[in-house]
């Protein structure tokens, strides 16, 4: 049982990990992440990479939607910008891997800022719908700017090379994607200890009040769009190296909805929410696949209905979480933690 954690300075109050126990658990988690690929087969390494990419993108969306209060349905399209930038750089110029990722992120950030401009005049749902417009306009560009994007046939991306090693299997890519995800998550967590991040939260809570307090709305909102799209762009770049082919259909509107669903299911406005939500939403289809494997001996048609059932479960998860657990998985996690903190007393 834990009584309380006494804090003696503001620095300790703002610290990411407030006790030695937390730091120890974090170290255990990092160790587990490092050992994970050695204990599982290629398929689970593949899933881990995919989940990590989704975590990066969902965290980006969380910065924008969860922390700044600007709903965006364009996250997948911004990922597409990053992916195409990386694909073009890699396939045409052959510039180094990490530089491509960085440029992909920056390109997405620039495009995100352009589509963030309407956020100055419109907010809430109007903004959500104007980001849908962004997503369609970008899709059009991907599909029709054939001299750069090769149109609907897409671009094949050669494998990433780092220190002379071709990163062509999930197992090898794991060592790039997961550390990068951890790094970007730490960055996002630290962001909200700084003036910029605090300004985001102020804008979310009441933008007019924030402006009265001297926070420049224009700059803050655009910064938020840029940062969020940067995360999307890096995630998109990793996506390009991971799947090795980028087509306009790779980043549909549904994918943006997926990310929004992920942060809702995980819990909006918390870093942990982005992680839990993205991992959970990535694994649900796999669990369903597993379920089909279990029931198929008794019911051979199970595989046929897998895809529609997945759609139903996806929607039901969104509705269910919003109605019954609006704070998402994070809240469940907190409740569990509280229970153990206070055990054997009642919470």
């Amino acid at each position: 049982m834990r009584i309380a954690s006494a804090k003696e300075s503001y620095a300790t109050d703002e610290a990411l990990f407030d006790s030695a126990v937390q730091r120890a658990w974090f170290a255990v988690l990092l160790l587990a992440l490092a050992l994970f690929p050695f204990t599982v087969n290629q398929y689970w390494a593949y899933l881990a990479c995919l989940a990590a990419i989704n975590v990066i993108s969902a965290t980006g969306l969380n910065i924008l939607t969860g922390y700044t209060g600007l709903v965006s349905l364009g996250q997948a399209a911004f990922m597409g910008v990053g992916a195409y930038t990386v694909a073009v750089l890699e396939a045409r110029l052959g510039t180094p891997f990490l530089l491509n990722l960085l440029l992909g992120g920056c390109m997405a950030a620039a495009v995100g800022m352009v589509f963030g401009i309407p956020s100055l005049r419109v907010k809430g749902l109007y903004l959500a719908i104007s980001t849908i417009a962004a997503s369609f306009i970008l899709h059009f560009v991907f599909a029709n700017w054939t001299s750069v994007t090769k149109g609907v046939s897409g671009i094949n991306v050669p494998p990433a090379r780092l220190f002379g090693i071709d990163l062509d299997t999930p197992f090898k890519l794991y060592w790039v994607i997961v550390p990068l995800a951890v790094l970007m998550l730490l960055g996002a967590a630290n962001l909200f200890r700084t003036r910029v991040g605090r300004a985001f939260i102020a804008v979310r809570d009441r933008d007019i009040s924030a402006e009265v307090l001297g926070i420049p709305l224009l700059r803050t909102k655009l910064t938020s769009f840029a940062l969020s799209s940067f995360y999307a762009g890096v995630a998109g770049g990793l996506w390009a190296y991971f799947f090795r082919v980028v087509t306009p259909e790779s980043f549909p509107l549904l994918m943006s909805i997926f990310f929004l669903a992920a942060i809702i299911v995980g819990g909006m406005g918390t870093i942990l929410g982005g992680i839990l939500g993205a991992v959970f939403m990535t694994l649900v289809p796999e669990l369903l696949k597993l379920g089909v494997g279990v029931v198929s001996p008794f019911w051979p048609e199970a595989a046929v209905v897998l895809s529609p059932v997945r759609t139903v479960v996806f929607g039901a998860l969104i509705v269910g979480f919003l109605v019954f657990e609006p704070q998402g998985l994070t809240e469940m996690w907190r409740r569990t933690r509280r229970f153990f903190h206070l055990w054997p007393f009642k919470t």
Binding site: T65, V71, P118, R121, V122, G124, L125, Y126, A128, I129, S130, I132, A133, F136, I137, F140, A143, N144, R206, I208, S209, V212, I257, L260, A261, I264, V305, S307, P308, V309, R310, T311, V312, V313, F314, G315, A316, L317, I318, V319, L322, V323, P326
Partner: protein, 294 residues
């Protein structure tokens, strides 16, 4: 290049015809928004549900088309009532983002259910409209579009009258205007919410039958809802005239862009128009400009 006036006229007519359907669906959207302040992204999927219910009743149970249409409307109305009571009512007062995501989730559930019951393959609705070509002056208009437009126009006219004169319509407008005042005047506000959802879902289902009759039905026909979304944003979320004007305008723009620029430009044109309107009039052409106070 010489302008082909006849072609332009025919294309515009076809565009306006589709625009009538947009206007009808947008009306359903606006009714829900006015009454409950819910941005219903599932409107396209409700439209799909209506079309599939019609298909199931007319093709599966071999009912005559009018009975199937009534049945489809009933199914959609029931769906609206259940959804309003079980999902939307508990969400009232939550942030608009949450409510809007709930409707996104509902849409996904509907698509999945339709695919489970009827598979994802496209189907054709049984023919029930007259097939003789329609000529306006010299211009040819596909009969289905012409009759759909007529039906849409009649339904819209009926609705405008109902809003104006019927008790329920007045109650709905009163609730939209000021919920607290409506309550204190003895209006059953939760009842109005239910009514709005039932009516709107029925209207959407009706539009779905018409859309399905023109282009066939598939589990992706909910995309129609995206164009409707553009319509209501351009027209103003809470404005009935906005929905009508916006519907016709977007129908026209889509048709013209489709002919003169190419099919892939349709969505681009409408969404560019959307952004342009949002930049100039963020609350839509006819929407209420809400003043924010601290």
């Amino acid at each position: 290049m010489e302008t082909d006036w006849l072609l332009l006229f025919e294309v515009s007519l076809a565009g306006l015809g589709t625009g009538g359907l947009y206007a009808l669906t947008a009306l359903a959207f606006v009714v829900i928004y006015k009454a409950t302040r819910v941005v219903n992204l599932a409107i396209g999927e409700i439209l799909m549900l209506g079309a599939y219910a019609f298909f199931g009743l007319a093709a599966g149970w071999a009912l005559p088309w009018w009975a199937a249409a009534l049945g489809a409307l009933a199914v959609a109305g029931l769906f609206g009532a259940v959804v309003e009571r079980t999902v939307i009512r508990p969400m009232l007062g939550e942030s608009p983002i949450s409510v809007f995501m709930v409707t996104v989730g509902l849409g996904s559930v509907l698509i999945g259910i339709v695919e489970i019951v009827w598979t994802a393959d496209p189907h054709r609705l049984p023919e029930f409209m007259p097939n003789a070509p329609v000529f306006i002056g010299e211009a040819f208009l596909a009969p289905k579009i012409a009759y759909s437009f007529l039906v849409a126009a009649v339904v819209i006219a009926v609705f405008v009258l109902l809003f104006r004169f019927w008790r329920g319509g007045v109650a709905l407008r009163a609730t939209a205007n000021d919920q607290a005042a409506a309550y204190s005047m003895g209006i059953n506000v939760p009842g109005v919410f239910s009514l709005a959802w039932v009516v709107a879902c029925m209207v959407a289902a009706g539009a779905g039958i018409l859309v399905g009759a023109i282009g066939g039905i598939s589990s992706t026909m909910g995309v129609f809802g995206l164009s409707v979304l553009v319509v209501v944003i351009v027209g103003g979320l809470d404005s009935v005239p906005g929905a009508l004007v916006g519907g016709l305008l977007i129908g026209l723009v889509e048709a013209l862009a489709g002919i003169y620029l190419g099919g892939e430009y349709k969505l681009l044109a409408t969404f560019t128009l959307l952004i342009a309107v949002l930049m100039v009039r963020p609350y839509g052409l006819f929407g209420t400009h809400e003043i924010e106070r601290l």
